[in-house]
Structures are given as structure tokens and as C-alpha cells.
């Protein structure tokens, strides 16, 4: 089993009010000095056999991320308990 991890983030120029809400809560925890927080999504895709990066790229581009507002990165991650 192999896992492909897709990270989806709002593009830098797109306002992220969720991140702002989190950042504004941090002083209540006594945390200061945080300049900015942004929220994204992590999606794990497990292939039955070898990880198909080309297919993962297609999935991410067509469905997981909206290229108008989001960027994504793809990487293969070893699954715990299996031999890489």
C-alpha cells in the first residue's frame, strides 16, 4: 500500500478569514508574535498498488483543488507498518 498526500492551500492573494480568526484567538492562549495563520486541507489517497503520481496529479487538479483560488502540492508518504 502506498499513500499520496495532497496539500491544498488557498493562494496567497486569497483572503483566509478562518486563518485570521485563529490568529486573533492566539493572544487568548498567551501566544504573541504570530504574524499570520492560514488554513488548508490535507488529503490522503491510498493506492492499492504502486502510487500513481500522474493520476494523483489529475485528481488534485480536477477535483481536490480549485485552481482559481487554490494551489496544491503532492508527495508520496510511506505508510506505517509497510516496507517502503
Amino acid at each position: 500500500m502506498a499513500r499520496v498526500v495532497v496539500d491544498v492551500m488557498l493562494k496567497p492573494e486569497i483572503l483566509d478569514p478562518q486563518g485570521q480568526a485563529i490568529a486573533s484567538a492566539l493572544p487568548r492562549l498567551g501566544v504573541t508574535g504570530v504574524a499570520s495563520v492560514r488554513v488548508g486541507k490535507r488529503i490522503e489517497i491510498e493506492f492499492a498498488g504502486e502510487p500513481d503520481l500522474a493520476q494523483a496529479q489529475q485528481i488534485a487538479d480536477k477535483l481536490l483543488a480549485n485552481p482559481v483560488i487554490e494551489d496544491f502540492t503532492i508527495r508520496v508518504e510511506p505508510v506505517a507498518g509497510t516496507v517502503a
Partner: protein, 234 residues
Amino acid sequence: MSGVTVGVVTFPGSLDDRDAVRAVQRSGATAIRLWHADPSLHGVDAVILPGGFSYGDYLRCGAIARFAPVMESIADAARGGMPVLGICNGFQILCEAHLLPGALVRNQHLHFRNRDQRLRIESLSSAWTNSFAGEQQIVIPVKNGEGRFVADEQTLDRLEAEDQVVARYIGGNPNGSMRDIAGIRNEAGNVVGLMPHPEHAVDALTGPSLDGLGFFGSVLRHVANARARAGAAR
């Protein structure tokens, strides 16, 4: 009856499909219920994608509905000139399907907004707004959590220059939408996306006005004009 049929799609999680059907009937057209899993459009003259939370709004609003079997037929028909109106979640689906530019994201203040909203109709050159008066002000309900229209500056400039902004919020922007945009149309004018809900403003008993009828009356006129042109060409 006008002899015009308007299809209203039901996705899993659609909420406003029944109100859209009633609005179509009130305007004098025949409403045909369309099902997300059935690719047939059953010969309708126009299609409405209603509000709601299709597929639970999972991933992104409209992202999964875009791949429903009925959407392929609607995208083909829209490219061929068939009028399509996406209301709220329907607007999100049209953007996800790249039938309209831009995207709808979380409201700037993170609150769900539900209120009667004043709008200015900015463009009469669409299949769904041709019956309004220029710069007419209307009041219809708005209710969304992810209704903030965003696009890059170049796209926004183009939308304004090409008369593709069909409606703008006035008297307060409910969601932080860029340039107060409440609705846009495609280049051809047959596809319109609208965040507020005209289908909830067609009855004095339940709505803040009857202003919503203007959108449905417009498409009747659009279809009738297209038929007259086709008849004259014969």
C-alpha cells in the same frame, strides 16, 4: 401557459428546488424536475441549478456536483446557448464547472448571512435579466455562508468592461464579495450565477417583494424571442 419549459435540477442536498419550481410556475412556464443522476434534460428550454448544499458541500461548495451526470448535459447545452441560472449553490456549481469565471469563498466575517437584500440590476443583456429596467433596484433574500465572489483583478476588470456583472449589492455588502458583485453572466449572456434568491421573492405572503419574478419572466421572453428568430429564419 407560455409553452416554455424550465428544468430544475435536484442534487442530493438541494434545498430550494421546490421554491424554484414554484417560481417557474408563477412566471407562467412549465417546470420539469431534473435529477442529478439522469443525464437527460427532457427537452427543456432552460435550466435552473437551485440553492442548497449539494453533496453536503463536501470538499468545496459545488465541487462534487460539478461531476454529476446531469451536469455534463447542462454544460454542453449551455455552450450551445441554452439559458442556465445558478442560484447560490447553483452559482458555486457553475463556477466549479468553469461555465462562469471566479469562485465563491467563505464570507469575509465568517457569519452566515440571512436577510432581505437590496440589489441593483447592472446588466439587462442576459437571458435572465432582460425584463428589468436599467439600474432597477430590487429586494430579494440573501442567505449564504460562502457567498463571497472572488476573482483576480484582471477578470474583475473584464467582467465590468464587458457588462458581465448582472447584479450588485447595495445598502451593505453581506459577505465581502469583491466589487459588491452579487451576480455575473458568461460572455454569451445565457449563463447567469446569482448569490441571492429570486425564487424566494415571488409571493407577497412569504417573500419581501415580487422582484424575483423578473428573472423568470426574463427567460420566458428570451426563449420566446429565440423561437421567433428561428421561425423568421425558416
